[in-house]
Amino acid sequence: MTVTRAEYCVVACAEAWRDAGEILAGPMGTVPAIGARLAKLTFAPDLLLTDGEALLTADVPAMGAKAEVVEGWLPYRRHLALVATGRRHVMMGAGQIDRYGNQNISCIGDWTRPKRQLLGVRGAPVNTLNNPTSYWIPRHSRRVFVERVDMVCGVGHDRAAAAGPSATRYHHLADVVSDLGVFDFATPDRTMRLRSLHPGVTAEQVADATGFTLTIPDDMPYTRAPTPEELRLIREVIDPKGLREREVPAA
């Protein structure tokens, strides 16, 4: 059975929530949402998930289906308050991300009159200073992985350190998952490192698609494949419509 690139990405995203305990998973994007559900159905059963609106759901419905069991209430005001308790691990997207993990979802170009206005900072500042944060980049390119982001929304390691102990106290950047590989910040200067390649991708390919110098260890592992049971859950239970393949088309 051939595992698709999208399915490697799902597993890589799910791994971000391994051993997370009794916290809220905050996936943004299709593949992270499938990953969070996979984690809950397998190695992270204590995770909390939302319906994308104001409810915490106890069961794990298929993508697009309605949950049947509600276990809690999380309207926006409580969601923002929960972030400050730290009991959440969010996986956000990024219009731009740099080597220190600074992320931009606000605008491209000069902030005073942007070339391209995106969402705005949203909750990226509060998220990154309060709860573990990972990132999901469905199309790895030099446009996204940049030398310097135009507007720091999610705070990276250098900026947190410069801002002082109140900024670093609960700051924790975990994983960056892209359609090419998995990255982290386990380097002496807390800059981005390639941790695993998705099968079919080379380190040169990743370096070419990245606008800054990545740390690339000599002995590079591949991202782990889903187990047969995980693959069944992804294909038959969580994402029977194959939405993952639309976010990450076959390479």
């Binding site: 409810l55 995106l118 909750g123 720091v152």
Partner: protein, 289 residues
Amino acid sequence: MSRDKTMTAEQVVGRLGSGMTIGIGGWGARRKPMALVRALLRSDVTDLTVVSYGGPDVGLLAAAGKIRKLVAAFATLDSIPLEPHFTAARQRGAFELVELDEAMVMWGLTAASQRLPFLPVRAGLGSDVMRVNPHLRTVTSPYEDGEELVAVPALRLDAALVHLNRADAHGNAQYLGPDPYFDDLFCQAADAAYVSCERIVDTADLLKDAGPQTLLVERPFVTGVAETPNGAHFTSCAPDHDRDEPFQRAYAQAAGDPETWRVFAEWFLSGDEDAYQAAVAAFHEEEAR
């Protein structure tokens, strides 16, 4: 019997003035006081400072050139990530932006409602929110920890506009959906708050089919109540109605180009609220064909 505060959307807007700071409730394309926004579009009131968890309220006011300054963390249509009028207005430098984090907006409104000058938050430190808002200050904890935190200034409002499911004539207002958003805070942070609602009911009927925790806004914080059925359209107002996705798609498509937007605005926004609702009904008849 306390005062009757019922008024029309036009009377609400009649109490607003150019240059005011106006807070708008809801979140993104969810339970926005769109009938009040449409009434505002028909008025001469302009030069506004708008505080909002932005959706098409921000988009429409920006397209009409009524915003001098926007205080927001984002503007979105939810099912369509980017609000097209907001992005276009930003790209042509149409208004001044005070770009704050979502939690900073919440604490700024809370500070205003509690009559505090600021509230301390961790959010913002290290981010460019501090760079693009040089007016923001930090505050040092007077306790042993000595932490340096952001002092989010109170977001005091001249007026608040919110839309709820039910209200009585006295200004007690009720939400029946899953999320109160921040509508009570907007009302408490404002010198005058105006509630539009799907239906005005007798006070005694408010809790006929709902629990007391659905009573979100209390009458001391409300100046006027307007009954505007389908008044959140095209945003969602659960459980009375969902977001009108086909209409929202048409809105977003039209907003992408000045000429198609002119046609769209002529079709839907050139008349009063009754004309708007009739045009929406006609739009759906045409869609169904």
